[in-house]
Amino acid sequence: MWLPLIGLIVGLIWGLLTDIRVPDEYTNYLSIAVLAALDTLIGGIRAHLQNVYDQHVFVSGFFFNIILAASLAFLGVHLGVDLYLAAVFAFGVRLFQNIAVIRRILLTKWMEKRQRFEKN
């Protein structure tokens, strides 16, 4: 499970080295895209831990969520409603839920391990 972490670091370094900056008007889109991506990632980890991981769902969800969030923000800008807040809210809530689930799963696993260790 080290490979994804290395990927994250590589991506970070890549982004920092290329020195790409998004124009001010598009920061909202990018932030919401980041949020969507994180949500998908965390969801994927959770699915993986719950053994319900499906690569098609994961990959399609990743891109679809990003596009959906960005278009929602775009629509919000044009409607004059801060619709991206809705996306932020939805993704935020889901992020927290997913992280909570992951935490519980990991905790259970750890407890089981410890119990097994104590038994032995």
Partner: protein, 238 residues
């Protein structure tokens, strides 16, 4: 299956990392909130206006410089043309010329036992011969009886009177002014020339002055008629 999962996660984490980095860089330079009050704003505005004024002034200075340069260039073109024209005029003999040279005085010379008509004029052939000799000896500008000799000058006999460009040459003594680059040389060569004898046969005496440092030759007075010359239009180079 497990490997594929890993690759998917890696790709997606890489993308997320990249997006995070971009977002981080974008938001790392936050817009500083403008907290200036009216007076500060006014002052700043004044500063900016001052700056603008300065810039405008600078632009004006540079424009003036540019204009002066352009004017200079145009003038220099004009000057060059003028110089060329002046040079050509000089070459054509339309200007007064000063320089070192000699003055030849031509007058009748009667021998003691001379009987015959009074010599009233000098034959054009003799004058032409003298001219040729002078040219051979390095004369640059010549004037016969203050009549400038130019390229189109004619020396001819009209009804028994020698004329140089329609001006009669019949009142002795006739002064022939010659300017040469090296007057001394011209003088010496003339002294040794046979042209003196040729004149002597016709009863004329050539008196060659010592080389002078300042001989003034007048300009050609009449207008030049160019009849058989046309400007050539610049042909396209092939």
């Amino acid at each position: 299956m497990e490997r594929k999962k890993k690759i998917h996660f890696t790709v997606i984490t890489t993308i997320i990392g990249f997006m995070l980095a971009v977002q981080f860089q974008t938001t790392n330079h936050p817009v500083v909130r403008d907290t200036r009050d009216m007076w500060e704003l006014r002052e700043d505005l004044k500063k900016e206006q001052e700056l603008q004024r300065q810039l405008l002034e600078e632009i004006r200075t540079y424009e003036t410089t540019l204009e002066s340069y352009q004017q200079k260039r145009a003038e220099s073109k004009e000057n060059a043309l003028r110089e060329t024209v002046e040079e050509l005029r000089k070459e054509a003999g339309l200007t007064e010329v000063r320089g070192q040279g000699v003055i030849i005085t031509l007058q009748p010379f009667y021998a003691e036992n001379y009987v015959g008509p009074v010599i009233q004029t000098v034959s054009p052939y003799l004058l032409k011969r003298l001219m040729n000799e002078l040219n051979m000896y390095g004369a640059e500008e010549v004037a016969i009886a203050d009549q400038r000799i130019i390229n189109t000058t004619v020396i001819r006999d009209v009804n028994g009177i020698t004329k140089v460009d329609n001006y009669k040459i019949n009142s002795f003594p006739i002064q022939i002014k010659v300017i040469a680059e090296d007057a001394e040389k011209l003088y010496n060569r003339l002294k040794g020339s046979t042209v003196l004898e040729d004149f002597g046969i016709e009863g004329l005496q050539l008196e060659i002055s010592q080389p002078m440092s300042n001989v003034v030759i007048p300009p050609y007075n009449d207008s030049l008629h160019i009849r058989y010359m046309k400007t050539v239009k610049a042909e396209k180079e092939e």
